[in-house]
C-alpha cells in the first residue's frame, strides 16, 4: 500500500516539475530530491563563504580608497549570499551548524576555484571577471530551478554577481591599459585563473554522476559542457577586447559549429584539487574552522545573555 502511495506521489511530483510548477518547502518531495538539493545548496553556501577568503586576502592591500571600499562591499555580498543559501538549505530541514561542521571536517565540498591562491592585485580583477562570470553562467539557469526558495535566492544573488563581474572586468581594463608592469600582472592573473575557471563547471558530461537526474528534476537546466562552452564563447572576445592573450593555443573560432574550440582540460589537476591537494585547500578550511572555534565563546555568551534576559522577563 505504502509503495503504491509513494509511486503516486512521485508521479504527481514529477508532473508538477514537468509543468514548471515550483516545489515549496512543505510540498511532498522524494527523499533523493531533498538530499540532492541539501547537498547542492549547502555546497553553494560554503563556496560563497570560503570564496570570501581569496579576495579578503587583498582588502587590506587594495591600492586606493575606492578599490578598497568596492572590494569590501563585494566580499560582504558573498557573505550575504552564504546566509541566504544556508537559509534555503534550512527550508529543506538541514541544520546550518551541522552543514558548516561538515565543511570543516572535509565531508562537504565547495567550489575548487577557491583553493587557488590570490597572488597579485590583478587576481582581484581575474576573480571578479572570470570566477564570478562563470558563477553567473551556472546560476542564471538556477533562477528557474524547480525548488522555489533556491530559485528565488538565485535571482537576488545573480543581480549582485553581475555587478561583481563588471567590477572585476573594470579592474582588468584599468590594468590592461596601464603601465607595462600592470599589463603583465593582468596577463599573469588570466594565465593562472583561466583553466581553473573552466573547471568550475564541473567534470565533463561523460563523467558527471549527478547531471541526468538533476536535469530530470529541473534542478539543473544545462549540462556542464554546455555551460562551459557558453562561458568560453562569451569570454574569449572579452580577452581580445582587453588586448590580452588567451592562455590556450587551441582556442579558435569554429565557423561550422558557430563557437570557439578550446584545448583539453587537465582533469587530473581538477580531481587532485577536489580531493584536497589544491594549493590552498588546507588553509581555506583551517581559516573557516578557526573563525568558528574563536567565535565559540562569543556565541555562548550571546546565548547565555538571551537566556538571562528571557528568564528575567518571565520572572
Amino acid at each position: 500500500m505504502m509503495e503504491i502511495d509513494n509511486k503516486e506521489l512521485e508521479n504527481k511530483f514529477q508532473q508538477k516539475i514537468d509543468r514548471d510548477i515550483k516545489i515549496e518547502p512543505n510540498d511532498w518531495m522524494p527523499d533523493a530530491y531533498r538530499t540532492t538539493l541539501i547537498r547542492q545548496i549547502s555546497q553553494h553556501a560554503h563556496s560563497e563563504v570560503v570564496g570570501m577568503l581569496p579576495e579578503g586576502n587583498w582588502i587590506t592591500r587594495a591600492p586606493n580608497l575606492r578599490r578598497k571600499a568596492v572590494l569590501l562591499a563585494k566580499v560582504q555580498d558573498e557573505a550575504g549570499h552564504g546566509l541566504y543559501l544556508y537559509s534555503a538549505a534550512e527550508t529543506l530541514g538541514a541544520d546550518r551548524e551541522q552543514t558548516i561542521d561538515d565543511l570543516h571536517s572535509g565531508k562537504a565540498k565547495y567550489s575548487s576555484i577557491f583553493n587557488y591562491p590570490t597572488l597579485t592585485w590583478a587576481d582581484m580583477g581575474a576573480v571578479g571577471w572570470l570566477v564570478d562570470g562563470a558563477a553567473i553562467m551556472n546560476q542564471v539557469p538556477l533562477c528557474r530551478c524547480s525548488y522555489g526558495p533556491y530559485a528565488r535566492a538565485m535571482i537576488r544573488v545573480c543581480k549582485e554577481e553581475s555587478f561583481h563581474q563588471r567590477q572585476g572586468f573594470e579592474i582588468m581594463t584599468k590594468l590592461a591599459g596601464g603601465a607595462i608592469e600592470q599589463k603583465e600582472m593582468a596577463q599573469d592573473a588570466l594565465n593562472r585563473f583561466w583553466w581553473p575557471a573552466l573547471m568550475m563547471f564541473g567534470p565533463s558530461d561523460a563523467d558527471s554522476s549527478h547531471t541526468e537526474q538533476s536535469m530530470k528534476w529541473k534542478i539543473k537546466r544545462h549540462t556542464n559542457d554546455e555551460l562551459r562552452q557558453m562561458f568560453v564563447d562569451v569570454t574569449v572576445p572579452q580577452i581580445e577586447t582587453l588586448g590580452l592573450t588567451v592562455p590556450d593555443p587551441d582556442v579558435k573560432w569554429n565557423e561550422v559549429k558557430g563557437r570557439y574550440d578550446y584545448g583539453p582540460i587537465d582533469w587530473d589537476e581538477f580531481w587532485q584539487v577536489v580531493g584536497g591537494n589544491g594549493p590552498c585547500n588546507k588553509e581555506r578550511v583551517d581559516a573557516r574552522r578557526k573563525a568558528k572555534e574563536d567565535g565559540k565563546w562569543v556565541v555562548e555568551a550571546a546565548m547565555a545573555f538571551t537566556n538571562k534576559r528571557n528568564s528575567k522577563k518571565s520572572a
Binding site: N64, V75, A79, L175, A179, K290, D294, E300, A301
Partner: protein, 252 residues
C-alpha cells in the same frame, strides 16, 4: 596658524581615525565569529572607509601641498599620520575588537552630533551623513559590550580584560592643542572637553549594564595626534601602502 591650516589638521585627524580603524576592521572580513557578525563588522569597516574618503578628500583640498585623498591615505610616512593610538591597536579577540569600537563610537557619535551644526558647511555635511552610520555602530558595539559583559563567566572575564587594556587609550580621544583652540574660537568645531561628559555618560551606562568596571590603573597613553605611534602602526602601514609603494605613480 591660519584657520585653513587648522581645519586641514582637524579634518586629517578625523580622516586618519576613520581610515586606520576601517583598515583594522577590514582585516577581519571572512574571519568573523559568526556569519552575521562578519557582515556587520565588514559593514562598519566599509562605512569608516567611506567616511575617511570624504574627510581626506576635504583635507586634500585644504592641504598646502594639494595632495589628493589617496596620496594622503597611502603615501605619508608614519609620523605624519595623526590618528589616536586606540584605533591602531590590533584586533585581538572579538571582545577587544568590540571594546575598541565601543570607546570610539561613543566619542564619534557625540562629536558628529555637534559637528553637524558646524559653521563650516562642508564639515557639517560630512558629519551629518556620517552620524547616521555611526549611531548604528554605537548601537551595535554597545549591545555587544553588554552581551559579553553579562554573558558567561568567560566572556565577562575576557571583555573586562579588554577594558583594562584599552581604556588607557581612551583619554587621547579628548586631546586638544592649538588646532582645536583656534577652531573652537571660530565656532567651527566643538571642544573635546565639552564632549567628554557625554562620552563618559554613555560609557558608564553601558559598562553598568554590562556589569563591567573601570580599571583601577588609570594610566593614559597618548602620542598618536602628534605622530608618535605604537609599534603596531608600521606593520599596518606596510600592509596598507604595499601597492602604492611597490608600484609608484600608477592608476588603479
Amino acid at each position: 596658524m591660519t584657520t585653513k591650516e587648522a581645519l586641514y589638521n582637524y579634518t586629517l585627524r578625523m580622516g586618519d581615525d576613520s581610515l586606520i580603524l576601517g583598515q583594522r576592521l577590514s582585516e577581519l572580513c571572512g574571519h568573523g565569529p559568526i556569519l552575521e557578525e562578519d557582515i556587520a563588522l565588514t559593514n562598519i569597516s566599509l562605512d569608516l572607509i567611506g567616511q575617511a574618503t570624504l574627510l581626506l578628500d576635504y583635507a586634500g583640498e585644504l592641504d598646502k601641498d594639494s595632495r589628493n585623498k589617496d596620496q594622503l591615505a597611502f603615501l605619508r610616512i608614519e609620523k605624519q599620520y595623526v590618528n589616536i593610538l586606540l584605533v591602531e591597536q590590533p584586533n585581538g579577540h572579538f571582545g577587544d575588537t568590540i571594546l575598541r569600537q565601543f570607546l570610539f563610537d561613543a566619542y564619534r557619535t557625540a562629536l558628529l552630533e555637534r559637528l553637524s551644526t558646524s559653521k563650516d558647511k562642508r564639515l557639517a555635511g560630512i558629519a551629518e551623513k556620517s552620524l547616521k552610520e555611526t549611531k548604528y555602530h554605537l548601537k551595535h558595539s554597545s549591545e555587544w559590550v553588554i552581551r559579553l559583559g553579562d554573558g558567561t563567566e568567560e566572556s565577562h572575564l575576557r571583555i573586562q580584560n579588554s577594558l583594562d587594556k584599552l581604556f588607557r587609550y581612551a583619554h587621547e580621544l579628548f586631546y586638544e592643542n592649538e588646532v582645536d583652540n583656534l577652531l573652537i574660537k571660530e565656532g567651527i568645531v566643538p571642544s573635546a572637553q565639552g564632549i567628554y561628559p557625554v562620552w563618559e555618560k554613555t560609557v558608564n551606562d553601558v559598562l553598568e549594564a554590562a556589569t563591567l568596571s573601570l580599571p583601577k590603573n588609570n594610566w593614559k597613553f597618548q602620542g598618536g595626534r602628534e605622530g608618535r605611534h605604537s609599534e603596531h602602526m608600521g606593520y599596518l602601514l606596510a600592509d596598507m601602502q604595499y601597492m602604492q609603494r611597490t608600484y609608484p605613480n600608477m592608476e588603479w
